[in-house]
């Protein structure tokens, strides 16, 4: 009987651990991220605080970018569709931050992003605000000097950031990330 008194709490603890949420193995990146205020595609202020309470897939780019940025947007939309099929998309928020506020106004982002059908938030702001956020995420973007009548391009880094429900960076992916890998990582954070 005394043995049972010892064993029962242990069993209860094991059962509860099994039923509870599994901690993700993804480490918290304490060097990247932080508070910021930008403007969303509706022209409303958007604080980083709003990213809390859901998992976010955050990335930087610009809509005049012909190759990498549309490819990343399409890939993120693919991740979102997978999560929709799993019934968990409402817990996930894709976020696109432009580093070309001159052309990517809130109004332009509002027209551009819905086509990807991924419930994406588009963020723009002053160049100073965007530089500050880019610095927080270790993003490099340099406006090319070779601008001509065809417009200008950017030399830029192209990482994608996975944020947990505390808006902490948990993983970085290259632009040609594997959709299945991101889906699995997102699910590990839900």
């Amino acid at each position: 009987m005394r043995k049972l008194l010892y064993v029962l709490p242990l069993l209860a603890a094991l059962v509860l651990a099994g039923c509870g949420k599994q901690e993700s193995d993804l480490p918290v990146n304490t060097r990247l991220g932080g508070d910021f205020t930008l403007t969303d595609q509706n022209g409303e202020p958007f604080q980083a605080e709003k990213l809390k309470g859901q998992v976010s897939i955050l990335f930087f780019g610009y809509t005049h970018c012909p190759d990498i940025c549309p490819a990343v947007l399409a890939q993120v939309a693919q991740v979102y569709r997978h999560l929709e099929e799993e019934g968990v998309a409402d817990q996930v928020q894709p976020v696109f931050i432009t580093f070309d506020p001159e052309r990517d106004t809130a109004a332009h982002l509002k027209e551009y992003l819905p086509w990807f059908k991924a419930d994406m938030i588009g963020l723009t702001g002053s160049l100073e605000q965007i530089r500050e956020v880019a610095k927080q995420y270790g993003v490099v973007f340099i406006k090319d000097k070779e601008a001509d009548e065809q417009g200008y391009l950017f030399t830029h880094s192209d990482y994608i950031y996975l944020l947990d429900d505390q808006a902490r960076v948990r993983k970085l992916y290259p632009a040609d990330f594997k959709v299945d890998e991101v889906v699995a990582d997102v699910e590990s954070l839900l």
């Binding site: 012909p66 549309p70 399409a74 027209e111 340099i142 880094s157 632009a175």
Partner: protein, 151 residues
């Protein structure tokens, strides 16, 4: 006589249509071409393909054009030492006999700028590669969300 002529003309037209995704030059072929679908308000879009020189002399591709774009360019993509990616004008592509050159997502690519209209998913758009000597090499590229499996 007229019927025979029409029949032959139709056969030629059918053959030309069948080769629509191919090229108007026996010595140079374009394969695996596609354009990445973009939102209707997009000012630019990218294209990808492989061009192969099947002939016995070198071929120099000097540029590209498309009727739907105000300006079409061959673009290079370089990864710099700090990991950033830089695009630039790819001035030409030299193809020795038997050589192929691929324009791929995340790599060198076709850039269509000043789009007069944004083609829709599933549509085909004619894009021509310009040669230093000889006719332009034209191919109908389908607009797709993702790369075809084989490319």
């Amino acid at each position: 006589m007229l019927n025979r002529f029409c029949k032959t003309a139709c056969q030629v037209a059918a053959l030309a249509a069948a080769l629509g995704a191919g090229v108007a030059n026996a010595d140079v072929s374009i394969s695996g071409g596609w354009l990445r679908a973009v939102p209707p308000v997009s000012p630019t879009m990218a294209g990808y393909l492989t061009v192969t020189n099947n002939g016995e002399t070198s071929v120099k591709i000097t540029g590209a054009r498309s009727d739907i774009a105000g300006h079409t360019m061959l673009h290079s993509m370089k990864t710099l030492d700090d990991g950033t990616r830089k695009m630039g004008h790819l001035h030409h592509i030299m193809l020795a006999p038997g050589d192929s050159f691929s324009l791929t997502p995340g790599g060198d690519h076709l850039m269509l700028m000043k789009l007069q209209r944004v083609p829709q998913l599933g549509e085909s758009v004619t894009v021509c590669l310009l040669q230093a000597e000889g006719d332009a090499l034209c191919s109908a590229l389908p607009v797709r969300r993702e790369a075809p499996e084989e490319s």
